[in-house]
């Protein structure tokens, strides 16, 4: 079927690369000015009546031309497009030149790297019993991009570059085995989070205490960093403008918020995160989350806890924060991850009656509501019904957009299903921190996957 794709010009490189990935390097694109979302109709017409910003040809003429006119010999070609396999070794050259080369090729995160000599790779490979040529996994920058597969050796190269040590390597391999890239192709600049559970946390000296999410610990830093490097180099996820399109980028991608859960400080009855996901306590596991940002909260500096309002409850403060943050996602199903300092976890258990993480999750689902605008966006048919006068929806039309209506954000009455997947627990809770202040973070992070680290030792 002859098809004319029409794209905004900001994505010229992306779509041409994508078309090549799919075996259609000669796709007849028509480009229009960017952006076109939410612009008034007269402006839309003006754009459509104008010229393709890339070719200079009239847009309408290009669309018609894309559908008609004979194919060229190039467009009729079959077979395969071979791409050169990169050489295994690079050099010999000086350290300075090699560093410059790595940076110029986009193989780094901009920070200095440890050059991956054969000697360093050999040392790194001692951190696992797996063969260097064993395939660890496959990664794609998003579900529509091509898959690249990678071996243990290739992951070792990127681990060395990140400054990791052999004892960190099984964790990095476990992350790589999930196939989730740390850099996601979206224009909204996704972040990732890595949580490590199990005995390996202490064995390799990870920090779950003061500054756990900050730049204070080697293992926390390099493991997360290795994930970004291997996502760029082995998952083809990091070329800005052609694969990576995050408009701002996300600072969290430098080390993907890699930290261990402070299992030793969990109140009794509160299970470690990996145990909640079906692993045994003695297993070492890495869990991956995806979102954009964290919002900070505490009880000390919270005006809701000040006189004359009197005592406040932590679970209420957390709930209010979860009602406020904006979720991003076409399905409009909201997800959240809470990072609770152990002081907060203890208080929630001992003084506020949440004997388990699951009880808190359930309470939050039942009591965290959504603003009415979010309801209309999530349920457009109800919006039509409201306009047709069906109550109580019709009354809601008169409410200001930010008015909270009694519909759960996290457990809505008509959940939107993702085909082929079970509905998942939308709220994740991880305990971490140095207990210097009752603080928490609430992030729009969605739990994606967990992988055994022990398999990669």
């Amino acid at each position: 079927m002859p098809t004319a794709p029409v794209i905004t010009v900001a994505f010229e490189d992306v779509v041409k690369g994508f078309a090549l990935d799919k075996g259609m390097p000669n796709q007849r694109f028509t480009f229009v000015p960017h952006p076109i979302a939410n612009i008034p109709a007269p402006t839309c017409r003006e754009y459509l009546s104008g010229n393709d910003p890339v070719t200079g040809k009239p847009i309408v003429q290009e669309i018609i031309g894309a559908l008609t006119g004979p194919l060229t010999e190039e467009e009729k070609k079959t077979g395969f497009i071979e791409r050169p396999i990169p050489p295994r070794l690079i050099g010999p050259d000086t350290e300075e030149n090699l560093r410059r080369l790595f940076y110029a090729n986009g193989w780094t995160d901009g920070l200095p790297i440890v050059l991956p000599t054969e000697e360093r790779i050999a040392k790194m490979l001692k951190g696992t019993s797996r063969r260097p040529d064993e395939v660890v996994g496959k990664m794609q920058a998003s579900s529509v991009r091509e898959f690249w597969s990678y071996t243990v050796e290739k992951v070792a190269v990127n681990a060395v570059m990140a400054g990791a040590k052999p004892e960190h390597f099984p964790v990095i391999l476990a992350i790589a085995s999930t196939g989730v890239p740390s850099l996601f192709t979206s224009t909204t600049s996704f972040a990732r989070m890595v949580v490590v559970n199990g005995p390996i946390r202490n064995k390799i000296g990870m920090n779950a205490g003061i500054g756990a999410l900050g730049p204070f610990n080697e293992a926390n830093a390099v493991i997360g960093r290795a994930w970004t490097l291997l996502s760029k180099n082995l998952g083809n996820a990091g070329s800005p403008g052609s694969v990576y399109m995050g408009s701002h980028g996300n600072n969290l991608n430098y080390n993907n918020m890699c930290f261990p859960e402070k299992e030793e400080s969990l109140p009794e009855g509160w299970k470690p995160f990996h145990v909640q996901k079906g692993f045994k306590p003695e297993e070492s596991v890495v869990s991956i989350f995806s979102g954009h940002y964290l919002i900070y909260g505490d009880a000390l500096n919270n005006s809701r806890c000040s006189p004359p309002l009197g005592q406040c409850f932590y679970h209420e403060l957390i709930r209010v924060l979860m009602q406020d943050f904006r979720s991003i996602g076409p399905y409009r199903t909201v997800k959240a991850t809470l990072l609770l300092d152990p002081t907060v976890a203890r208080r929630l258990k001992e003084a506020e009656g949440f004997g388990t993480k699951e009880k808190l999750q359930q309470w939050l689902k039942e009591n965290t509501f959504m603003p009415v605008w979010e309801y209309w966006v999530s349920y457009p048919k109800d919006f039509q019904a409201a306009k047709a006068g069906v109550e109580p929806l019709a009354s809601w039309l008169k409410l200001p957009a930010e008015t909270i209506v009694p519909i759960s954000r996290f457990d809505p009455p008509k959940p939107v299903e993702v085909p082929g997947r079970l509905l998942r627990e939308p709220i994740s809770i991880v305990v971490v921190g140095g207990e210097t202040l009752p603080v928490w973070y609430v992030g729009n992070f969605d739990y994606l996957a967990s992988a055994s680290i022990d398999k990669w030792r």
Binding site: M1, T8, R45, K77, T78, I90, G91, S149, N158, P419
Partner: protein, 123 residues
């Protein structure tokens, strides 16, 4: 003769030693490293579908890929094309779900009732 031979041998040896020194000096501080890059897979080509000789009398679907806020643009596209090419049937249809979701039912409908398609648009 003996002296000449000695001189010759010494000369050759000197030249060789200098080469080593020169080359070693050149290799000083140089290293080999492993390439961090993965290997892209070969891409099977998908040949383009044959194009139409004319759109007159044909049905062309304009598929709205459902990126938020872009409906007005597609509606204007349909209007403009209908004005300019009134003998073509321009059908604007929403694709199911979000912009990255597949919609086999719509593709089947287009195959059955249409002869060409426009896919648009993001952002």
């Amino acid at each position: 003769m003996k002296k000449l031979v000695n001189l010759l041998l010494t000369g050759v040896f000197l030249v060789a030693s200098l080469s080593v020194a020169f080359v070693s000096h050149g290799q000083e501080g140089k290293m080999m490293v492993l390439n961090p890059l993965g290997a892209p897979p070969p891409i099977p080509r998908v040949p383009m579908a044959p194009r139409l000789d004319t759109l007159t009398g044909k049905t062309v679907y304009i598929v709205d890929t459902q990126f938020p806020g872009t409906k007005p643009f597609l509606e204007e596209m349909q209007k403009l094309l209908s004005e300019k090419f009134p003998k073509v049937n321009w059908v604007l249809k929403d694709k199911r779900g979000a912009y990255f979701d597949d919609d086999p039912k719509l593709w089947a409908e287009i195959k059955e009732k249409g002869q060409a398609a426009i896919m648009a648009i993001g952002h």
